[in-house]
Symmetry: D3
Subunit: 137 residues, 6 copies
């Protein structure tokens, strides 16, 4: 019997953002996104959980080395997003509205390129303590 | 490729309850439910997580608007359960033992009527920090 | 130089209560205590922190044995309050409104009788994650 | 014997900010404030604890009504700071660097005007889970 | 329609351990396991979540009695692992490297023998707040 | 008016330890320290809060730079204690029983040498979520 095991690594980044659809006028953006549309941005302490699912290597007892996963998260996410303005400073969101749903999907895509292809990946992102997204669901 | 995304919204309610099966005598209720059967009730700060799974709307970047989900939870759960006695004040539990399992299922049924039918719903309820249920599992 | 050291022990109890002043009529109680006045009670997962301040015994390296403090809290608080209705089941609140302030003071008085008189005592009580009291302040 | 009691109310606001001293040149600001000086701002989920110390009213069992304190915090802090850019949108920080220390002191001053003068006030502000300030200390 | 329900019970144990593969020399162990290979051990406050998935009994409103699950966890995990050295004091790890992945799988195997076979079991183990594993995934 | 401000920085270290008084025989050590006396050690994820109290510098808006405090904690505490056996690997506890009380006082002494003498220092150490110490109290 060979059940798969998941490892989950937590990380944090603090960033400014605003929600806005450039194809809509100001009134519609305000109506849809409310205070999240504030012109001068607002911000969050994002909490990120990266889950990798795979077989445990019998030699190490690891799915993968947590230190390696920590480094991938640092290179692909925190070095790029932490203490930044997601809309203005980060290429990933130059043409993509930085909702929690979109941020989670972009992080998934960026990290999945660095993970052994036989392993599965899942992203959980806390925008606040009360607003959370997961991708894929 | 179209992976689904989940959004999760957290809420709280503080309620009294007791566990009791009216078809059993006092001794059997005490034997099965122990101190949770206390005649004069006890209470909890329930923590609720409502998860909605669906496709991300490319116009908004949302599965659904968190504010809309927040309002549904307020109408269907917290306005009805918060600072109430679940056994005596809430119709949902007039004939149903308010175990965490049953509360979670009732919340699922009440919220699912308000959610777009193409989206999936999942309820996680913390009765205490150490006792948690999920429905459906 | 002899600085004092504090030890803090955390505990939990789940109880029903209602706020009510028997010297007031129903309307005034409702006006002052709002939904906390609900006739059939509501409830909380109370979180308790008991702090004892004293000198460290050089033989043990302890202010006092945490296991002893844990037992005092069990005898004086959790065995009496957990899974109970504070208004109906607990003598301490037969004639005292069980606000968080009053519960903290009563716990202080009950525990202080069991603590070496040269040590100081402080109680922190979380009624919810957002409502906290301390006694003495 | 009349010991004082403290009540603590927790609140949250999500805001963008940057640290900058306008009397310094760009290089010195970068040297002192590092990534907190990012031109386009970054942001935080600030967690606020407001502590009020006073005597317990024997009629209510309250130091003050938590709902009243909640409303004061809403009017004086969260309505003004939440989903805002502290540097650009908030008058309090037009001429004051929005470090956690300065934000805490400004919140103290704004709330203290609304609190009965015989009560003491203390502010605890979490900029992140790991960076916290208190005023007065 | 009969959806399954999950119950989750949380527990804690504090243990020492070190990671080491006896088939490797000292240099390779140090290279692979880094500071987790420290000769004299280090330690953790492990947090354990045991999830049991099954049908809700209509008589009790329970998947299974949380008190029964609590006792199983005490017998199978905390009495054996708490305040112990996993490598030296616990038979389960005499010949198995106590990585979080391996600990989770062993706990799964030990608890699954005590659970009704129609119920499913899942283990989540927090080695630290930031390093988490799940089995099966 | 010049009120002082406190800043608090949180850190973590994972270590093995045992409690033992070498002047006592085995039976007395077992009687006093119970399972904390386990011959082969056990371990904890220690959480540390370092509080520095001082005046806010009007130029920076800081009591002191959090990055500087973070580096002091790294040099004086986490580099020395993390993933170590406190009894065997750390000089500070060669002749001192590593109770939480003693660890907190040693951390106080080590950090206080690195802090401006006009600032006050306070240490809060969580051995577990439920056992906490503070020095000085």
């Amino acid at each position: 019997m060979s059940f798969k095991t998941a490892i989950i690594r937590k990380a944090h980044f603090n960033a400014a953002h605003r929600l806005n659809n450039p194809n809509w006028d100001k009134a519609k953006n305000k109506a849809v996104f409310g205070k999240c549309n504030n012109d001068n941005f607002h911000g969050h302490n994002y909490v990120l959980e990266v889950k990798v699912v795979g077989e445990v290597d019998p030699e190490t007892g690891y799915v993968m080395d947590m230190k390696e996963l920590k480094d991938i998260i640092k290179n692909e996410v925190t070095d790029k997003y932490d203490h930044k303005n997601l809309n203005l400073d980060v290429d990933d969101f130059k043409n993509l509205n930085p909702t929690a749903e979109n941020i989670a999907r972009v992080i998934y895509e960026n990290i999945s390129r660095q993970i052994t292809s036989s392993n599965d990946l899942n992203i959980r992102l806390y925008e606040t303590e009360r607003n959370i997204v997961e991708y894929p669901a």
